[in-house]
Every structure is written in structure tokens, then in C-alpha cells.
Symmetry: C2
Subunit: 143 residues, 2 copies
DNA sequence: ATAATAAAAGATAAATTTGTCTTTTATTAG
DNA sequence: CTAATAAAAGACAAATTTATCTTTTATTAT
């Protein structure tokens, strides 16, 4: 459904949202350990998200990743869009670039329903929601 | 959503269903051209499907690929399962192997709905349906 | 039987994704 | 101002997916 990179990204963003709900910051090592991902690999992904403003980062001592008020308003759709592009939102399920309403592939309408359901789900899930959840759920971002 | 290999597979199976509705057979070159895929690449995929009995094949002159009555009862879910395994049907949307009802990831229930919609759509689409459709739709399996 | 045909199988290569290691830059505390 | 810290960036490597080319096997028609 998503690339592995995107799976890591979503897990990391949820982790950061949960860990920094109190205004603190979380280091890349802790993120990597928390979501069971390669440290430098997730680092690059977070760099992308940070550059786009989806998350915040701060260098140096006391530095780390966090979400500001603005970022908490972003949704998982924004994360997915940065990492995987819009394939999942608009792409043809059969990989046909020219598939469209007027030139639909044989499964166009069925895929449309699925895509819309995915879009709706991602767009309605705001990063801030995860800041409000219990610590306990963290464990389920690993493995 | 699906691997590129799986996209080719679905397109090829639909193509074969449409082209051989009259009991004829269709060669690999025609399939490859018809769905815009690399000839030898789709050939291997069709070999897999043929070995599993999802489609039929016949060597030699007048040979080619086709669907028998039994195969027309298979669904796209069967095709996807052979090519991509059960990840799309059962896998966690965040890539967590141990994600389950009792240890759900933060998006477990939302992903479940999506997966179920995909499963339902694929399981309800029988290969025979494509044998009954108009020639005209063929063009929309390309590009 | 033989030649022609077409799928099956095998080997190899290119491209992309994923993962690792090192160096650089920015920031903070002392 | 300096040293320590942590993210950013760059270079490289492994693994996987996708694509290409060649040889083999089975089948048909002559």
C-alpha cells in the first residue's frame, strides 16, 4: 500500500507526536529505536519532512524532532504525499498513466472507491491526535 | 497498492479473458503489446499463473494463453495472491509484522476497513466477467 | 521424421529501493 | 571562545524489483 519508507515515516511521525506532546524534543536514536527502523534511513526521511515543514527539528544539544502547533494540524495525507507522492491518491490501480474518467481502465470505478476511502482516512487523521493518546500505545509502533 | 508485476498480471489476465472469450488462444507477443509490458517479463508472470492453474497455456503452433471454464471462476484476488502474496489482504498498513487485533497499531481499525474493501472488490471480480465485455475496452489496458 | 512455432526456463543486467557509514553544519552549555 | 551535542548532508553498498536476452522443451503441421 505504502513504500517501506512511507511506513517508517508514518510510524516516526506518530512516535514524535506522542513523545513530544509535552513540548519536549526527541532524538533520532530514540525515534529509530522506538519504531524499529534504521537510524540513518529514518533520519533522511525526517529531514525531508522537516524541510517541508511537516515536522520541526533543532540541531545541537537539547535538539531533536518535535511538532509545533501548526504541524499538529497536518494530516497523515500530508506525510504520505511528501514521501510517496500522489500515486496512492490519484494513481490508476493498474498502473496506467492515461487512465481517467474518460478513458477508464476496466476497474477504474472500483479503484476510485478504494482510493477515496484511503484519502478520506488519511486526510481525517491529524498529527495532533497522536499527541493526545496514551504512552502505552507506543509499543505498537515497533515490529 | 500493487507491485508493478501485479499490475501487469491483472492487465494481462483481463486482456487474455477478453481476447479468448471465443475459445481462441493469444500469444505472448500480443499480450505484451496489448498491455504495454516487457514481453519476457510478462511471460514469466503468466508462467506462474499458469502453473497455479489461474490461466491456461499451450506450447507450439496454435499455442498461446487462454482461460478455461474453471479459470473464469477465479477472481482478481486469486491473481493478486499468486503475484503479491497476502500482504494487501492481511498486512499491517504501517508494515508492523506483529500488528493484530490484540496488539493493534494506531491505525489498525482504519486500515482494516480499507483492506476489507480491497479484498471484497477483488474477490467479487471474476475473470469470466471480462470475457463478456466489449472489445472496445481493450485499448484502456495500455499506458 | 522434420521443420516451424510458441511457451518455459535460465542467465544476466539495469534500475530502484532500502540500509550503512562518514563528514559537515548548526546550536548549546560551560 | 571552546567543546560537546545532535541534526544535515554526502558517499557508498546491499537487497529487491524490474527488464532483457538466450537456450530449451513441447506441440503442431507438413
Amino acid at each position: 500500500m505504502f513504500s517501506k519508507t512511507c511506513e517508517y515515516a508514518i510510524r516516526a511521525v506518530i512516535f514524535i507526536a506522542q513523545k513530544t506532546a509535552d513540548g519536549s524534543r526527541v532524538g533520532i536514536k530514540e525515534v529509530a529505536a522506538g519504531i524499529d527502523s534504521p537510524e540513518h534511513f529514518i533520519a533522511k526521511i525526517l529531514q525531508d519532512l522537516s524541510r517541508k515543514g511537516i515536522i520541526q527539528s533543532q540541531k545541537g544539544p537539547t535538539g531533536g524532532f518535535y511538532l509545533d502547533a501548526q504541524s499538529r494540524k497536518y494530516t497523515l495525507a500530508d506525510v504520505v504525499h511528501v514521501v510517496d507522492g500522489d500515486q496512492i491518491f490519484n494513481g490508476c490501480g493498474l498502473g496506467l498513466k492515461q487512465c481517467s474518467e474518460t478513458k477508464p481502465c476496466p476497474l477504474h470505478n472500483e479503484f476510485k472507491k478504494i482510493r477515496d476511502a484511503i484519502s478520506k482516512m488519511l486526510r481525517s487523521t491529524h498529527l495532533g491526535e497522536f499527541s493526545e493518546q496514551l504512552e502505552q500505545k507506543l509499543v505498537f509502533l515497533k515490529r
